[in-house]
């Protein structure tokens, strides 16, 4: 099994831990990843509000590059995953967009075949690797660690291709297979307010506060995420959101929890980058990790 890997900007910055743990997990499972050569920004959310068509062109360059590799394209960042899919759809559904984008690609000497299959790690792990293979790799079962699985918005909306749009369960199944207990977290597909925390703090904080309080209410010991921005918002702003009484709720990428279960060394799982350490929880659950 081999995939073309599209990290996207965040996984090189605030989301480093995601990339580290992701690579570790796929390595452990013997799935080869090859980073897309000279990839560029997917033209995500922010760019769209500047100029939609240009953002499609940007995404299209990546798709065209990926198509050449002849392998499926793995996009771990929810925003990238959506941006790439949206581009494929709009270039197809709106001839005038298709015209502009394809013209631009031809000008820079790229193929206009954008039909590469875009996958999310969750999709690959569940449907290609399979739960059995993952179970087999577990050395530290998560001993009923109570996890709130938080999918956020852009992974399931508008394109829910491998999971139920309204009640996604892919992450639940995956982590349950590693021995975690999935708490029923009704806010699992609600929005984390994205970049609003930076631009309109009170709005962002309000969302973050609700999401964290919600997770505690259903007794979660940690939150698992699939998106760099969700993870950043929920973890980094805990102190502000908690005003006075801090939440102290570890927020990890689902790949980090897998890494823990697989016994990946702490640093390779990017756990040292957390603001709120998972270790106390693991200790409390008697998970003999590190």
């Amino acid at each position: 099994m081999k995939y073309t890997y599209y990290p996207g900007c965040s996984l090189k910055g605030t989301g480093r831990a995601y990339e580290e743990s992701l690579l570790a997990v796929f390595h452990a499972l013997g799935v080869a990843l090859e980073e897309l050569d000279d990839w560029n920004c997917c033209g995500a959310t922010t760019y769209m509000s500047y100029d939609e068509v240009q953002s499609y062109a940007l995404a299209a360059r990546n798709l065209s590059l990926a198509k050449k590799t002849g392998r499926d394209l793995m996009a771990p960042c929810a925003a990238c995953y959506l941006g790439l899919h949206k581009t494929q759809n709009y270039v197809r559904d709106y001839p005038w967009i298709g015209h502009i984008v394809e013209h631009a690609l031809t000008v820079i000497g790229y193929s206009t075949d954008l039909s590469v299959r875009i996958r999310h790690p969750l999709d690959i792990l569940l449907n290609d690797v399979g739960l059995a293979a993952i179970k087999a790799k577990v050395v530290h079962p998560l001993n009923g660690l109570k996890v709130a699985t938080y999918y956020g918005c852009q992974l399931v909306r508008p394109y829910a291709l491998f999971d139920n749009q309204r009640e996604p369960t892919s992450m639940d199944r995956l982590l349950a297979a590693c021995g975690a207990t999935i708490v029923d977290y009704p806010l699992k597909t609600q929005c984390c307010a994205g970049s609003q925390k930076g631009t309109l703090p009170e709005v962002g904080l309000d969302r973050i506060q609700r999401l964290l309080a919600g997770a505690l209410r259903v007794g979660a010991e940690t939150i698992a995420t699939v998106c760099p921005l969700c993870q950043f918002n929920l973890e980094v702003f805990q102190e502000q959101a908690g005003n006075a009484h801090p939440f102290n709720l570890p927020v990890l990428y689902f790949t980090q929890l897998l890494a823990v279960a697989f016994g990946t060394p702490l640093k390779q799982a990017g756990l040292q980058r957390s603001f709120v350490s998972i270790e106390p929880v693991l200790a409390h659950r008697e998970i003999a990790y590190v």
């Binding site: 309204r166 009640e167 009704p186 806010l187 609700r210 919600g214």
Partner: protein, 667 residues
Amino acid sequence: MSDTRTPNSALKIGVYVCHCGSNIAGTVDVHAITEYAAGLPDVAVAREYKYMCSDPGQELIRQDINHHGLNRIVVASCSPLMHEPTFRGALLKAGINPYLLQMVNIREHVSWVHTNKQEATAKAKDLVRAAVRRVCLHKPLEKRRVAINPNVLVVGGGIAGIHAALTIANSGKHVYLVERQPTIGGHMAYFDKTFPTLDCAACILTPKMTAVGAHPNITLWTYAEVAAVEGYVGNYKVKVRHKPRYILEELCIGCQECVEACVYKEGRWADEFNMGLSKRKPIYLPFPQAVPQKVLIDPDACIEFKSHRCKKTCVEVCGERKAIDFNQKRWFDEIEVGSIIVCTGFKTFDARRNVYYGYGRHKNVYTALEVERLINASGPTGGNIVLRDGTQPRTAGIIHCVGSRDHNTNRWCSKVCCMYSLKLAHLIRERTGAEVYNFYIDMRTPGKGYEEFYDRLLDEGVHFVRGRVAEVTDWPAHPSEEGKLIIRAEDTLAGFVRRIPVDMVVLSVGLEPQADAREVRRLLNISCSEEGWFLERHPKLAPVSTFTDGVFIAGACQGPKDIPDCVAQAGAAAAEAMALADAKYVELEPYTAHVLEESCSGCKTCLTVCPYSAISFMQETKTARVNEVVCKGCGTCAATCPSASIQQNGFEDGEIFEEVEGLLAYA
């Protein structure tokens, strides 16, 4: 096919172009066409007129036929399926054979579908030219007369079927009423009250049900389905499949002692009639007023069927009557009827499809039908509106348009939900004194006394929030919401989002075509709209007829409808069926096929393609022969014959060749 077109002095063609007000004249240059037609060979008269189908229009044709001795007529107007009979009538009146007519469809196929006047006119010219050339070859034809069987089959025993059956039976004709469920009554039987009059549904329905059961002219077959239909208007052969109820209907007197005696002292299986809100035994009567008053056995529940080791206390108590028969198998009946009325009704939208309303997840979210049962005195709670935990709701929210007006589920408006929601709001408030909130997009209360009923609800202080609900959740955002179901919607009239905590949520589910509407449609050879509602022949002028003569539709199987509309349609359909029966015979189009024996090589190819085996091989002449009584006039044989020795009346090869070539010949 040797006939080709040469000017024929014997031919006098009259061409009539209709304006249809501005319907045609608006897009097609009628005058130009008339002039053009006048110039075509063999055309003696060409006229235009505002409304050809009107009496003066027809009179125009009649006079010309008499004065100018016209012997072929071309009318360029609307679809032949609309007015061909009208103009044939005109020809007949004028004393020439009605089949010497050819119609040109320049409305549905030209003026209504094109915008460029030039192009439209050009197309119309081609069509007229083709018709003129075709009509030259028309031959006089005679309709065939076939006797009509006066019996009528009514499919479906809801209020529509019941009303249709009674109406026809009262006229002295025999009716077979076939119902899939073990009892008749349909959805109306579930209701407690009916809007806007609030009269008790049972009180008005059950007398009609018993009347059906007792009527000498009605053969009532419940727990049965139509298995096959063949034949044609006036002469349908129908096969009916009876499902075994393991009770011999003719012996059972409905005393229900067997139900009492059943080894199960308590009901254990979801009671279909109460939407699973109560339990029933393996042997049961669907509901107290069921017609027929015959019990039935659920083989999936009954021990005898599972282990064959039941004490069979039911059989004991039934004793001498011996009405219980565990070995009953399904059986068939064959009947002959002249016409069929389809009243198969609707099904309600599956609320689970709207995940965000939490039906099936939150226990106090109900569908409207469940609440109908809760309110109903003969329902699971004897008419007390209580939540699953037995307490009375202090607040209730009614969500409109669940599975209606939504391109993610069903796009159409289900028409009855606004009114039944008002009814439920009234009843809930009356019985429990609860605060009731209605969440609606638009209030649709057209109908006699409906708007007044709405006013009454407003007086009663029911809340109306204009906004489609986004979510029903048990997730509080404020202490006051703890332990409640919270309904989140924008109050679009206030312009902000509201969260309203309630004890009970009622989903006003929309109406959908029956799951098997498409199979039924095939069975009866009628059409469905894209949504799956049965298609009427004409939305305004033939609302209960279908494109298959002798098959009529009534009630909600044709589209969402409330009780008054269903009954009205049922009456209309009954009248159509009776009119047909009283006509004694029906005239069939003469488009049958016939063999030209001189050129028939006797290859028998035609025998293989005829779907009605109407063609036989004559040993003595070594040629094929068509039995015109059996032939339905599809023309497949004519197309198949290698030596063109079979011709179809009205669609002879020559006629079609002329039409094709006429279309393509440039002016």
